[in-house]
């Protein structure tokens, strides 16, 4: 197969400090905004692309469209008032925020959640992970023109949201995991309905595999595109499936296990050619691993036991001075909360480290050079970034 060799003589030269010498008034370059109002953007952020012909020469990511000042708001609320707002930091996968915040507060306050609560927390995190991957698969296929996959995966995500509604009472923002435990146990018959949902997901995943991953057009457009050099992983702080598709097994559930993961049996999924196709494949296999984990959790979970430890009077809860960092492996990478307390009833500083912070800004601006305009959406979705957690 003869690959197209582009004419590099038209390419802009480099200035002394490494940036490209782009003369916008010369008429050779065009500045396009793949802006916030665009069907090809994951969420509400924008890319300012400088394009020469068909190729992107330079890109800048603009975030901040969803900034609500969470970290400032949390300084004004007591510890128990913070937990309902924390889940809104990452919109499509809200449970990680609740878990990381609850674990950080528990660690600094010196309380331990009961065992049954840990199992239910793990169950919720894995269910949330499946949901997030469903959203990703729909977006990735949709960015390349396969609209039907999005219909299937969003439907299956809705079935899982029904399980969430049974368990926690709400579809999207659960507010279920709080410092000290969880709010409620599993309802009757939950295991049976969950098994039905998981079988439906597995059926859909095999259909998705046939239609998306065995599709010649999808393969032609994604194999070899968007290559992340494994040497870039550490300097750019790449974690999660983006790193695992490059061959580096970075999974917090195995490296620094939390909750009940030491008692569960699974292997992190690895890929080797780190292009868009491999990242999609790694995430597809991760869905199957998560389904297996949910089954294991429901089988091994203790059926009785306390759900919340005894908390001090939450209206006047003062936590001694300290700082900690709690991390977890969400569907996009390493999610972490850095919590600093100062002995009063309010948190001093809460810093949310979302995986998209490093993926969507520095890494994307580096990867997107020389990419065709039509592949920009595919590349951006393949990094699986959700803008709300970048600017909180």
């Amino acid at each position: 197969m003869v690959l197209y060799q582009p004419d590099r003589s038209q390419y802009p030269s480099q200035k002394a400090d490494g940036s490209l010498d782009i003369d916008l008034t010369s008429g050779k370059y065009l500045k396009l905004w793949q802006g916030p109002q665009h069907p090809g953007i994951t969420g509400n952020m924008s890319l300012e692309l400088t394009v020469c012909g068909d190729e992107v020469v330079e890109a800048k990511t603009h975030v901040g469209y969803l900034h609500r000042g969470f970290e400032k708001l949390m300084e004004r609320r007591t510890f128990i008032q913070c937990f309902p707002i924390v889940c809104r930091i990452c919109v499509p996968e809200p449970d990680f925020n609740e878990y990381c915040y609850a674990a950080a507060v528990e660690e600094l306050a010196g309380i331990v959640a009961p065992e049954r609560a840990d199992w239910i927390r793990t169950l919720i995190l894995e269910m949330g992970r499946i949901n997030s991957y469903m959203m990703y698969l729909g977006g990735q296929a949709g960015s390349l023109g396969q609209g039907v996959i999005g219909q299937w995966t969003t439907y299956v995500r809705d079935l899982m949201l029904d399980r969430f509604e049974e368990l926690t009472g709400a579809r999207i923002y659960h507010m279920f995991i709080l410092p000290g435990g969880v709010r409620d146990g599993l309802p009757d018959g939950f295991a049976g309905r969950m098994e039905d949902t998981l079988q439906e997901i597995e059926r859909t995943m095999s259909d998705v595999y046939d239609v998306m991953f065995c599709n010649a057009v999808f393969k032609k457009r994604t194999v070899g595109v968007g290559y992340i050099d494994p040497a870039l992983l550490e300097p750019y702080g790449v974690t999660g499936p983006n790193a695992r598709a490059a061959g580096v097994v970075k999974d917090v559930r195995k490296d620094q296990p939390y909750l009940v993961y030491p008692q569960l049996d699974f292997e992190p999924v690895v890929g080797h050619d780190s292009d868009i196709f491999t990242r999609a494949d790694v995430r597809r296999r991760d869905v199957l691993v998560s389904i297996d984990l949910v089954r294991q959790i429901i089988a091994k979970m203790p059926k009785t036991g306390p759900l919340m430890t005894k908390l001090p009077n939450v209206l006047h809860w003062k936590i001694p001075r300290g700082e900690t960092y709690i991390r977890g492996e969400c569907s996009r990478g390493e999610y972490g909360y850095y919590l600093v307390t100062d002995g009063s009833g309010y948190p001093r500083r809460v810093n949310v480290r979302g995986p998209s912070y490093t993926h969507a800004v520095a890494l994307l601006e580096r990867l997107i050079v020389n990419v065709n305009i039509s592949d920009v959406a595919a590349l951006m979705v393949s990094l699986h970034t959700y803008p709300p957690e970048i600017e909180r």
Partner: protein, 176 residues
């Protein structure tokens, strides 16, 4: 963790070690030694992953605490380096050549706290806020509720009742 601290203490003057968990510790460092310590940790000790770079505003003590959180995946250990810098005219040397991703963190700190990192690429470009003319919002003296009340109109009809006062008026309408 303690062995690592003892090793590092031989080469660099370090402050106290606070062991938060068995795999997480915080060390206070002076700003002059930070860069050398970071390079030593990254190249020789295996702490190749920069998790986050954030600032905590200790307004009562007049300092910003910059926290550099590094992680060593193979040894399963995290190390937080605390650097105290003065609050007025806050600036710190940039580490974007050690970790390119630090440029994003530094950009956000410059916008939100007002800490300058001279030399970091694009550190003065607006990152999150647009058209912001007030003081950097994450500083402790910025009162977000006052700013919100002045800039935006609120919808009428939101009354806040203190529950204790309300019940007292309900149960004892004549006072006492």
């Amino acid at each position: 963790m303690r062995t690592l601290y003892a090793e590092l203490n031989k080469r660099f003057p370090l402050g106290e070690l606070t062991v938060q968990r068995e795999d997480l510790g915080f060390i206070t460092v002076e700003r002059e030694h930070l860069r050398a310590l970071l390079l030593h940790l990254r190249d020789l000790e295996g702490f190749t992953h920069l998790v986050l770079l954030t600032a905590v505003d200790w307004m009562e003590e007049g300092v910003f605490q910059l926290t550099y959180l590094l992680s060593d995946r193979k040894k399963r250990c995290d190390l937080g380096l605390r650097v105290m810098i003065a609050r007025d005219g806050a600036s710190m040397e940039t580490i974007h050549d050690v970790w390119p991703t630090a440029a994003t963190y530094q950009r956000e700190l410059c916008e939100m706290f007002g800490i300058d990192f001279p030399g970091s690429p694009g550190v003065h470009d607006p990152f999150i806020l647009e058209g912001w003319t007030d003081i950097p919002p994450y500083r402790r003296e910025f009162d977000t509720k006052k700013y919100a009340d002045e800039t935006f109109t609120h919808r009428a009809g939101r009354e806040t009742n203190d529950p204790a006062e309300y019940m007292k008026k309900q149960l004892y309408p004549d006072g006492a």
